[in-house]
């Protein structure tokens, strides 16, 4: 809401010494937050000038400049021989714009003028071969609101609106300051000077007289006949008629200035007055050309498919939810949103029907959104306009039309409907103190409520407060607490640290996730966060087959990009994007990880229900909400590009391999004390022969690790062999035992045996290893230390060499023990894997 300070000061008797800044600070602490102070920065001789002569001069750069002689009245030099035209007292000014002609009134910033939009003081300077004695200004340079003329170039004033030499600062109100206030949705009344003035008076503890009370209300029947068929949508409707308006008159400068400063455009006297009253009192209103209205004005809901052409010349199709204003000719307006073109005020209009109504806020809110027609009127109606104001609002418009337009206000008014009664609210007198924490006495609170326009009853320890008609935000006891606190001052709230009875610390999953984060960093991975928006092309780039589950996405109704219509099902999309970016920026080593959610639609997902808010949903209802949501587990993913160990002066580097990804995956599982087995798998986007799936004890697969398919790596511009992994961290956390390792070891001596087997290539090393490990109770550990294929090994086989550590919990092993354990291992290898000792 833009509030011209000059206007505000006419409505509340603010001491002259209160600066605009102080006013703004106080209003900010009164819940009318200052966005900015507009205007007021111009100083120096900003002057009205008349263009006497123009000499267009073509420049070498192809541009044509205008060398002008300008009459600036008392500011003229006696002689400017160099300037075009007859050498009369004037100034010579160079101007690059072309949208003005000889005889036009313009605004000249003479040397010494400071324009905040430019940020410097204008001087006399030599340019294009002339001494330019100042500058002819554009709207933008003057800091005026942009309109169609500002695009064209300089500001040309209305002929006869001023004389050369007049102060343009004064003429255009450029010394005036305007507060741009952010009005929260609950403070609809502050979308008017009336409301802001009332709060200003409260904030500065000044008396306030309501400008609505100053309006002479029409007495008796009159106006224009009205029939309201939908009193729910239109509780109050008022008309007043003004006749004999002189259509040639325009709004006076002071009104144009206030409207302009408030951010609206001057259009015609009638429209300007209509807007002025809306800004002044907060009552939107509409003027119909009485000659174009036929028969009674009727308010009703639209029939499906009815159409109306609104003032913006758009033909709109209506629904039965739309509230319309009709006469015998059909629809003449979309209630509270926009008027119709058929009854629009024109250049010949002399008689006007002034309408001021109170519309149901929700109806307006929905209509405005349905038709995508935000307007100043709808903005006020949807938040709530004082329903008791229609008569004063219409009368004020009529009064101004008479005063400024030479019209006659016809006696009486049509006033249909009744102002909805305000609902009283009861609460304990100490509630403001208890909730705000500030000592607010009942007397103080009562005074605040009354000065805000409330009727207050005190019954023992209970307040019963009836809010005024213009307050739509005072419905609950706590609303009054805010009102009292606003006056007591938010800065008086003391600081008291509450003392909870004691929490249980982080949850186990929270602790474990942090641990995983540290382990990943310890493994040399750099954490990234990536955006979850993904589309089919991203999944194509991973080479996912058509029937891959990860192609079923949670889709958005309004994605930012059509290429990324849904949420990701795998962290690898984001990680590979990030890896590509790093590589394209010249990084050779990119080893990145992310812990984040993926979004997997539940197969039978329904729409999530919407419940009322007057009670807690039942456990079944809450379960229904959760059942409608997709599965959103946290995953951990990683991509490794380049060298795992960098080459250096002390040795060669080691390139990333599939095994690094598996090692990291195992480390993550290991830090959670989760036993995982690995086995070969074929899953996109992995290399078909270099992918390990990670299997929990119960047989479920928690993730994959290995090498990225070389084609996918190439698709993403990643060099060399790329390691990747992705694990369902939620599933892994669920498998983490509450009680982890139970260390148990023997102090008796160890015996070491190395065994090399010849075994078929298809036999997985891990399978053979675990067979050996289980072959005898005396086998403490088995570690593979060599894999060999070559001359000494038959085709289709390989040699796997293991070191076994043998130990008994209760004795030193004898040679017989060792031989028995060794034989058992060899036997088991032969039995289960047809492995032969080499």
């Amino acid at each position: 809401m833009r509030v011209p300070v000059e206007w505000l000061r006419t409505l509340v008797d603010l001491p002259a010494e209160v600066t605009t800044e102080q006013l703004a600070d106080r209003l900010t602490m009164y819940d009318l937050k200052l966005e900015e102070i507009i205007g007021g920065g111009i100083s120096g001789p900003l002057t009205v000038g008349r263009v006497l002569a123009i000499s267009p001069e073509q420049q070498k750069n192809g541009k044509t400049i205008n060398w002008c002689r300008v009459d600036v009245g008392a500011q003229n030099e006696a002689s400017v021989p160099d300037a075009p035209g007859e050498d009369v007292p004037s100034r010579g000014i160079v101007c690059g714009a072309h949208n003005f002609a000889v005889g036009d009134l313009v605004v000249v910033s003479l040397p010494g003028t400071f324009l905040p939009e430019l940020g410097f003081e204008i001087g006399s300077r030599k340019t294009y071969g002339h001494v330019s004695d100042g500058m002819i200004c554009s709207t933008t340079e003057l800091g005026l609101p942009d309109d169609e003329t500002s695009a064209a170039g300089i500001l040309v004033l209305e002929p006869g609106s001023a004389e050369p030499g007049d102060s343009a600062t004064e003429l255009l109100g450029l010394a005036d300051q305007t507060l741009d206030l952010e009005v929260n949705p609950d403070r609809a009344y502050a979308l008017s000077l009336r409301g802001v003035a009332r709060d200003t008076a409260l904030a500065f503890d000044l008396p306030f007289s309501d400008p609505a009370d100053a309006v002479t209300l029409p007495v008796g029947e009159g106006g224009y006949p009205v029939r309201v068929e939908d009193p729910e949508g239109c509780p109050v409707f008022t008309t007043v008629v003004v006749t004999g308006i002189d259509p040639t008159r325009t709004a006076p400068d002071w009104m144009v200035r206030r409207i302009t400063q408030a951010g609206m455009r001057s259009i015609s006297l009638t429209v300007d007055i209509s807007n002025y009253v809306m800004l002044e009192l907060g009552q939107p209103n509409h003027c119909y050309d009485r000659a174009k209205v036929s028969g009674d004005i009727v308010v009703r809901r639209a029939a499906a498919g009815e159409t109306v052409t609104t003032l913006d010349d758009v033909k709109r199709t209506l629904t039965p939810e739309d509230l319309v204003i009709v006469d015998d000719s059909g629809i003449i307006g979309l209630a509270g949103v926009m008027g119709g073109a058929s009854t629009e005020i024109g250049p010949e209009t002399t008689d006007v029907v002034v309408e001021a109504a109170f519309w149901d806020p929700v109806t307006i809110f929905r209509g405005e959104r349905r038709h995508k027609l935000p307007s100043e009127a709808a903005k006020r109606y949807e938040r709530g306009v004082d329903p008791a104001l229609t008569l004063a609002g219409a009368a004020r418009v009529a009064e101004l039309l008479a005063e400024l337009g030479g019209g006659t206000v016809e006696p009486g008014a049509t006033h249909v409907g009744a102002v909805p009664a305000s609902v009283p609210v009861s609460f304990a007198v100490d509630l403001p103190t208890r909730i705000s924490g500030v000592d607010i006495t009942p007397d103080f609170a009562r005074d605040v409520f009354e000065r805000n326009g409330c009727a207050v009853q005190v019954d023992g320890e209970t307040f019963t407060v009836t809010p005024p008609t213009w307050r739509f935000d005072l419905n609950d006891p706590y609303d009054f607490v805010e009102e009292a606190l606003r006056s007591a001052g938010y800065d008086t709230v003391p600081s008291v640290l509450p003392t909870p009875t004691g929490g249980r610390g982080l949850s186990r999953n929270q602790v474990l996730r942090r641990r995983v984060g540290h382990v990943l960093a310890g493994a040399g991975l750099t954490e990234v966060t990536t955006l979850p928006f993904v589309g089919p092309a991203d999944l194509d780039r991973l080479g996912l087959p058509a029937d891959d589950e990860r192609r079923r996405q949670v889709l958005l109704a309004n994605p930012l990009s059509a290429e990324e219509p849904g949420l990701t099902t795998t962290l690898l999309v984001g990680l590979l994007r990030a890896a590509s970016l790093n590589v394209s920026r010249g990084h050779d080593v990119v080893e990145i990880t992310e812990i984040g959610r993926v979004f997997l639609p539940s197969p039978d997902a329904a729409a999530a229900p919407i419940y009322g808010v007057d009670r807690r949903p039942t456990p079944e209802e809450i379960a229904a909400l959760d059942a409608a949501l997709p599965y959103q587990p946290q995953h951990v993913g990683a991509v490794l590009v380049g060298e795992r160990e960098r080459s250096g002066w002390d040795g060669p580097g080691r390139a990333v391999a599939w095994s690094d990804a598996v090692a990291i995956a195992r480390r993550v599982a290991g830090t959670l004390h989760v036993e995982v087995q690995v086995r070969a798998a074929q899953v996109a986007p992995f290399h078909p022969g270099r992918c390990a799936e990670l299997v929990l004890a119960d047989g479920s697969v928690v993730g994959h690790a290995g090498e990225l398919h070389p084609a996918v790596a190439a698709e993403h511009g990643l060099p060399g062999r790329v390691g990747v992994l992705e694990i369902d961290l939620d599933q892994l956390l669920a498998a983490s035992p509450a009680i982890g390792p139970k260390p148990s070891f023997s102090a008796f001596p160890v015996a070491k045996e190395d065994l090399a087997f010849l075994v078929a290539t298809e036999v997985e090393a891990e399978a053979l290893r675990s067979t050996l490990a289980g072959a005898s109770e005396l086998i403490e550990s088995v570690r593979l230390f060599d894999v060999y294929t070559g001359d000494q090994v038959p085709e289709g086989q390989r040699s796997l060499a293991f070191s076994l550590r043998l130990r008994a919990p209760d004795r030193t092993l004898t040679d017989a023990d060792i031989k028995a354990a060794r034989d058992a291992a060899v036997q088991a290898a032969a039995t289960h894997h047809s492995a032969t000792l080499r």
């Binding site: 805010e482 909870p500 984001g574």
Partner: protein, 372 residues
């Protein structure tokens, strides 16, 4: 020494003569001292203290002496041999030290050679700041609550007193989940626009007193630019207990500010509006760079000369929210607050472009190491 006493057997044995013993001892000591390597010393020891050395040979003569002369001669030779052996031992130690020092000196390396062959990892500052905030509140006896990012519309909006026709609902630019089978009534699901649904879930699943913070990702339909992202991070807090007021909110936020930014930090309230709180306030943080010090505030870039930095929104939980979430508003009151974490990170670490947090360029995360 004089000639042998005539009381003894007059056999003159030259090697045992004191002068001769003194001479060979002196020669031995000179040879030991002259040895400059352990090898030289070994030779000197063989020559002067070995089996064939003059003193060893002299020692053998003692047996031939008359008994009364043996003692004196034995003492003389014994002392001489002892003296030589001690000299050898001392010189051995000296030379070993010298040779060891030389050996170590020869092993000198250039310690400035690079030693960075292992890839070093780092954690994202958004992760660590969420942990930091969690730790601060856990230390105060609060707990950290979590919830889904694709959330039920009812929990994100309705339960937060943002009904379907609430004007404030349009203030937030919401990502809506597409309806199953294009159902016209919609999916009832959104990407959560704030972490407030976690507050609702906390009230629905816990019994007061409730003290929880909810850090996490939230979504708004903003195109990515230097100061906006469609995804960002928030932390919200909720306290529900008997007798809580705005004062407890202020105390909590002051404590939070001090825990993050140090002693002397404070906050201030400005009136505001949120559907889920009443009264509502915006909370400003005292500028942690200039502390609103008149001498510094004018030139402070962090707060733009304001002395205060906009931190977040807060207020007393609207009883309508309590009712929807099953908390008795006659018995309990509560407060809630929320602030963005991304801006906290960018302003604290002078990051000009919000997109840097999301691009995944390793140069962004690496400097943070494993903690802020």
């Amino acid at each position: 020494m004089s000639a042998p006493n005539s009381d003894y057997d007059p056999v003159e044995v030259t090697p045992l003569h004191p002068d001769e013993v003194a001479r060979v001892t002196r020669e031995a000591l000179e040879a030991v001292a002259a040895a400059s390597t352990l090898a030289d010393l070994k030779q000197a020891r063989l020559d002067h203290a070995g089996d064939r050395s003059p003193l060893a040979l002299a020692n053998r003569e003692i047996g031939a002496l008359p008994p009364q002369a043996r003692k004196e001669a034995g003492q003389r030779i014994g002392q001489a041999r002892g003296e030589v052996n001690r000299a050898v031992a001392a010189r051995t130690e000296e030379l070993e030290a010298v040779e060891s020092a030389a050996q170590l000196a020869a092993e000198t390396v250039d310690v400035t050679l690079p030693v960075d062959r292992e890839v070093v990892g780092a954690r994202h500052p958004i992760t660590t700041i969420q942990e930091l905030v969690g730790d601060i509140f856990v230390a105060m006896g609060w707990e950290v609550a979590e919830g889904p990012e694709v959330e039920a519309e009812w929990l994100n909006f309705d339960a937060m007193n943002l009904g379907p026709d609430h004007p404030a609902r349009t203030m937030q630019d919401t990502f809506w989940v597409a309806a199953e089978d294009d159902a016209p009534e919609g999916s009832g699901k959104v990407l959560r626009t704030h972490t407030s649904p976690v507050q609702a879930r906390s009230m629905l699943t816990r019994t007061p007193p409730i003290y929880v913070v909810c850090p996490g990702r939230v979504y708004r339909t903003d195109e990515a630019d230097a100061t906006h992202m469609p995804v960002f991070h928030q932390v919200e807090g909720l306290a529900i207990d008997e007798g809580l007021s705005m004062a407890h909110l202020k105390g909590t936020l002051d404590h939070f500010a001090q825990a993050v930014y140090g002693d002397g930090m404070t906050t201030r309230f400005r009136p505001s509006y949120f559907p889920f709180t009443e009264p509502s306030a915006e909370v400003d943080l005292l500028c942690y760079v200039c502390h609103n010090d008149p001498a510094q505030v004018g030139s402070c870039r962090t707060c733009g000369g304001e002395g205060w930095i906009e931190w977040g929104g807060c207020g007393v939980v609207n009883p309508r929210v309590l009712v929807a979430c099953g908390v008795d508003p006659e018995r309990y009151s509560g407060f809630a607050f929320g602030m963005g974490l991304d801006r906290t990170v960018t302003s604290r670490y002078d990051i000009a472009d919000l997109r840097d947090l999301w691009d995944g360029d390793v140069r962004f995360t690496e400097p943070f190491g494993v903690g802020l």
